[in-house]
Symmetry: C2
Subunit: 574 residues, 2 copies
Amino acid sequence: MLSMRVVIVGAVALGPKVACRLRRLLADAEITVVDQDRFISYGGCGIPYYLADEVPDENQLMSTSFHAVRDVRFFREAKGVTVLPRTRAVAIDRERRIVAVEDLESGARSELPYDRLVLATGSVSSVPPVPGRELANVFFVHNLQNALDLKKALITEEIGHAVVVGGGAIGLEVTEALADTWNLKTTVVERLGHLLPQLFDANVAAIAEATLRAKGVAVHTGESLLRLEGEGGKVTRVVTDRRTLPAELVVIATGVRPNAALARAAGLAVGPLGGITVNEQLQTSDPAIYAGGDCVEMTSLVTGKPVFAPLGSLANREGRVIADHIAGKPVRFDGVVGSFIVKIFDSALAAAGVTQEQAVAAGFDAVRVLVVGYDRAHFMPGKAILVLQLIVDRATRRVLGFQAAGPANDAVLARVNAVAALLKHAPTVEEIGQLELAYSPPFASAMDTLNALGNTAGNLLDGLYRCMTAVDAVAALRDPASDVLFVDTNAAKSAAPYIERYPGRWVNIPYQQLPGRLAELPRERTLVTICDSGIRSFESQVVLSANGFARAFAMEGGLNILKRSGIDLLAPCP
Amino acid sequence: MLSMRVVIVGAVALGPKVACRLRRLLADAEITVVDQDRFISYGGCGIPYYLADEVPDENQLMSTSFHAVRDVRFFREAKGVTVLPRTRAVAIDRERRIVAVEDLESGARSELPYDRLVLATGSVSSVPPVPGRELANVFFVHNLQNALDLKKALITEEIGHAVVVGGGAIGLEVTEALADTWNLKTTVVERLGHLLPQLFDANVAAIAEATLRAKGVAVHTGESLLRLEGEGGKVTRVVTDRRTLPAELVVIATGVRPNAALARAAGLAVGPLGGITVNEQLQTSDPAIYAGGDCVEMTSLVTGKPVFAPLGSLANREGRVIADHIAGKPVRFDGVVGSFIVKIFDSALAAAGVTQEQAVAAGFDAVRVLVVGYDRAHFMPGKAILVLQLIVDRATRRVLGFQAAGPANDAVLARVNAVAALLKHAPTVEEIGQLELAYSPPFASAMDTLNALGNTAGNLLDGLYRCMTAVDAVAALRDPASDVLFVDTNAAKSAAPYIERYPGRWVNIPYQQLPGRLAELPRERTLVTICDSGIRSFESQVVLSANGFARAFAMEGGLNILKRSGIDLLAPCP
């Protein structure tokens, strides 16, 4: 019997994973990987840390955990896999099962026959077609070569101002590198209304924005790039629809789209999001051809709709499934719930599932609830505040999404991983409330803040908890036409400056005294209870509601969420 | 209509939770909580951190996150709940629905009528009946008063040596406090064969033991306490069945058992583990009486068998369910998967579900698999090693348990929480392999070590991965009758001292060279591949197996697990 010939197009993440796993399962398969680039099998997600000098040597991004560089020789000797770099797959002849390839050094063309073909063609930068893109010192950080060029510019050129276009994860990671490591005066420009728009609702994304501003980064959202201007071929200015920014260095990180050109040309099915269509065995519409990673679109296990999820972690997991199926194992890849984490200076932000906006767009009657609480027992030194948000389908109480912000340690990771693990099982808010998260005081509270989030969502759905978002509450407070009265349940000392600043709109009744002082409150006004975190204001709102105050609301997240969102109620009038 | 009268016996964790939640749901219920102790509503799990001075003031353990002391007045004013401390529940008259109570100060007896009764009687120390228990400076740390006495002794007495009897979580947390904060020469004595015996299998518990030894703590396992000896009424020596230890201070932390005496006397059903029997609404055999927390036994959602899980986190979650059901909500508490985490010096250990030993005892054909990997991308500074173990049912591939050890940050928490969240859904190893854990380089690898654990378990079940535990491999290496040959796939420099130490039993073929050097290896011998972590040794074992080496095994965990388990192959002969 002839050994199986497997050709893989793409050698960054999914391609090498398929090759290595397949080698272990089929000792005598002939495995060939082609890639148009000269760099192969590198950790592209590490590029921002290479730019930040946390990873000083680019070879580390191309090395195994045991310090072997994953080059052509490594794949040949250790894995028995042939890798052809600087080789472009030009066309697929599905009838003859042949891939036509071109050697980009010599221009020579040749044919690679296959029994199974794997498309790992990745994604391409989705760069807005603006004038000036071709100027020097304009970068895209979508591949390692571009990152090397960018770092070289940082080291060798005189750069004072940087503009990052695109407030997604990569844009913000690069922003931190530029502002923190290289001390550049850095500005982020995002076209949509808030940062990280695919991953977070506006109220949690506000925490990312406040984090950046606190570190001296300027952030302009809802602002579109019009053109880049330069002198002597080098970029000097960024022009948006709102302003002109000085910039000796520009990074355009406006996202990526699936690179499905080769598949499309071969007549393979492509989905509504532009990614290659695959089944649960990651086969394309031609069962001899598999695809995975950034070039495909998946089914969301939350909404049931197509989703594009360009993540190195998914590429690795999918690669293993492709290899297993080629080797004859009965495997399946059900789809994607979506999970995400990013470090921004001293904050971590994480998400799983969909945002409220996405849930509503997918047809759910989606509500959201937010809590603020500690990441470990409140009596432990080193505790920090977590902000957690849940997106819930009102009728079924099913959890659709989760968002979190906290310190830049693993506290946020510990919560998002639990939710991400559960999401495909369509948990209810009650299941989140009862989650058996591991507990001891150095790591969690007895009732973890994530449990509290599930419980709070249940209280909201049951009508026990009646809340107002910080944004709405602040707007009412500042609106002369509103009848709102803030009932501050903190201690008197904390409340005093607010009472002075908002006469007639802010009163103080410390939490413990509220049940005995109800007579002091006007029944006809809209009452907003507020405390530090939202716990006492919730309990106080329950007391008010139970005692016939028809328009009593708790301000979710308390003073803490205001502080973390960059809202200062005591600042001079805007 | 008369308001509902609810009496709660026990005011530490579950009792106050029931009271406070119930108040929010039923504004006019009459809620009374009795407790024989003078301290109420305290965080008992924080006691070791109080002893360690990380929590300097005991009032912090009795305070809310907003610094209000949860005393009788707090419950009356803020919660509208009557708390009667120093009041013992003497008997329950179920016919008349009355609890007879005794005021421990005055000796006066009275009766509390109830519509619903909640038993939160907790647990009692399971102290071995050895002579000398009554000596001064012998402590049990099972309640706050005892912890206050212990800390006073630490501050005021001349103490050089401490012995902690019991190597469970509380014993080890107290050990750290005594050895680290108070610089006592501390010894742990555990009756069973390894530390943390209810939570970890021996191989992972060995990491806890090595951590303690590295910090100067002596550990004696498989050793029973016979008696305590003293002079002038104070303890001076601990006598075990193996040795006599000097000890001016002794802490007995040999576990707890459910305090079901009141329930039993009232004729309520008690289960095989001695805990009160409850249904999924946490009602006892008398539906007007609820119970939860340490005094009940639960059903394991993994084994389906009764389980005793005395955890403050469960008590809080159960308390909420009891209050909800009393208030008429359609709630249920399905049971317990078991989740756990402990900090021991610079290590964290965590677990969920059952150990291999427990799984086998419950009738499963349970296998275990262990991997070693980084907690974040291997190219990131600050990375650390995680040791993860999975317990799996061979036939169904269902995951039954998880154990982890790593640095004392939240990296271990982030993995155990994901598994704990999933366990009730009976995940297979494939589901662990495909878990969508959140990824970016500062927080995880693209293929998280937890994914690798699931994948490795699948490889084991499929027969692709053939492994030998570190303990078995080392035993073979040191057994003159064994034919074992270690194939060290590390670099030559790393392998050299082992080759010198184990002539004829250790050879070096670096990983990348192995496929080309198979002819050098003897086909008739037992080959054990070894590397740093287990990755290269796995791949090398696959190559050997595919090439007809019938007795090729990979040593799981590599040199890393040896180091973390305190096994030094280069140490002088034992």
